[in-house]
Amino acid sequence: MRHLMSPMDFSVEELDRLLSLAIDIEQNPKKFAHACDGKKLATCFYEPSTRTRLSFEAAMLNLGGSVLGFSSADSSSAAKGESVSDTIRVISCYADICAMRHPKEGAPLVASLKSTIPVINAGDGGHQHPTQTLTDLLTIRSLKGHLGDLTIGLCGDLKFGRTVHSLIHALIRYPNIRFVLISPEELRVPSYIREDVLDKNHIPYREVERLEDAMADLDILYMTRVQKERFFNEEDYVRMKDFYILDKAKMTLAKKDMLVLHPLPRVNEISVEVDDDPRAAYFKQAQYGVYVRMALILTLLEVEVC
C-alpha cells in the first residue's frame, strides 16, 4: 500500500505514468466513469479549504465513487481531543482512501503510519502540498507538451510559498530547466532552496525584483499570492501585497506562447483583464487538478482501467 506525502515520493518514471493516466482521463472521461464504483474517499480537512477539498470530491465522484468527511477541526473528533492516529484508525474502517489536510506539519505522515488505507497529504501547514505540484506538472506537460527545456519565472512570495518550493524540487529532475526568481528582497527564496537545491544541482537561475525584467525570457510565469497569514504585522503585509500586479501591459512583454499559472486563490496579483488572454492558464490548471487527483486515486487504489 502506498501513500502520497510529498511529490518526491514518486520517481520521474512513476510521475510520467501518473500524468499520462491523467491525460487519458481528460481525453476519455467515460472510460473511467465507473472505475471506483463502490469505493469511498474520506476527506479529512482539519482546516478550511474550498478548491482542494472540492477537487478531491469531484475527482472521486467522476470515478463513480462516493465521498464522506469533515471540513473543519470543529466538526470532527479533534475538537474532543482525539489524536490524528486514532482518527485515521477509525476512518480506515469507513473508507477506502483518505485525503487529509491539517494545519500541523507532518500530521498526514502520522496518519499514514497508522492507516490501513492509502493517505494523501492534501496540505500540511507550510510544509507540503503534493497534489498542487502534481497539478502544476500536469498543466505544464499538457499545455507545453514537455516538462524539460523550460525557463520558469516564479513570482511573488517565494519565501513562504510552499507550492513554489515543491515545484522547484519537482522540476529540477527534468533536463534544461532554468528559473527566474522574481520577488522583493524580503520574500526571496530561502537560502536552503538556493544552496541545497539549486546550487547543489547546478540549476541555472537568476533573481530579479522587477517582473518587467524577466517577462521576455519566460516560458512559464508562475504567480503566487502574498499570504496575509504569514506576516506578523499588518504594515509589512500591506507593503508587500501589491508588489506585483500582472496586467495587460506587462503581458505585452511576454512570449506569444508563455503560460501564466497560479495555484489560486488570487487576490489582486493578476488583474482580471488578463483572464481573457489565451496565455492565462490558471483556470485550466484548476481543471487539471481534478484529472490528476483522479489519476492519483486510481494509482493508490491500484485500480486498472483497460
Binding site: V84, S85, H102, K104, E105, G106, L109, V110, D124
Partner: protein, 146 residues
C-alpha cells in the same frame, strides 16, 4: 596524575570533548541507573590537548551507542570485560534517532500530539544534517527531551 581504578566490565568512553562529559552522562541516562561511573574531566591528551573520559561499570550492551554517535561520533568506545579492552567500537552517525532531541518547529504535529516519538532522520551525512521525520525541520541546536 590522577588514578582511577580499572573497571571489570563496562565501557570506557575516551576522547570526549573536554568539558562535555557531564552533559554526556545525562544524555546517556546514566543518572537513571545504579551504575558505578567515573567522570574524568580535562585529562591531558596528545591528540586533543584536553579531553574528558567516562568509565561506566555495567553490562556491555547497556549504553545506546546510537545516541552516543549522534552526540559525538569522534568518541572512542572501549568495551571492557575481565578488566581488559575486548572491543573498540567505531561510532557512526545513526540513520535515525528517537527521543533524543525535540523538534522546535511550533507548526510540527509533535508540538500538539505529545505522545508521538520525537524522530529525527539523517538526511545529509556529509554535513551531519538531521531533520524531523514529520515536518522536516532541520535540527539546529541542543534542546534535550528531558
Amino acid at each position: 596524575m590522577l588514578n582511577v581504578g580499572a573497571i571489570s566490565e563496562g565501557y570506557v568512553l575516551d576522547h570526549i570533548q573536554a568539558g562535555t562529559s557531564l552533559q554526556l552522562y545525562h544524555d546517556l541516562k546514566l543518572d537513571e541507573g545504579d551504575y558505578c561511573v567515573a567522570i574524568i574531566r580535562n585529562a591531558r591528551s596528545n591528540k586533543m590537548g584536553k579531553k574528558d573520559i567516562l568509565k561506566v561499570e555495567c553490562d556491555p550492551g547497556t549504553l545506546d551507542l546510537d545516541v552516543l554517535g549522534f552526540i559525538d561520533h569522534n568518541i572512542t568506545v572501549n568495551i571492557i570485560k575481565g578488566e581488559k579492552i575486548v572491543e573498540k567500537k567505531i561510532l557512526k552517525l545513526p540513520a535515525e534517532i528517537k527521543n533524543v532531541i525535540k523538534c522546535k518547529n511550533p507548526r510540527c504535529i509533535t508540538s500538539v500530539e505529545q505522545e508521538l516519538d520525537q524522530i529525527f532522520v539523517l538526511t545529509d551525512p556529509e554535513h551531519e544534517v538531521y531533520r524531523c521525520k514529520y515536518c522536516e525541520e532541520k535540527y539546529k541546536g541542543h534542546k534535550r527531551v528531558r
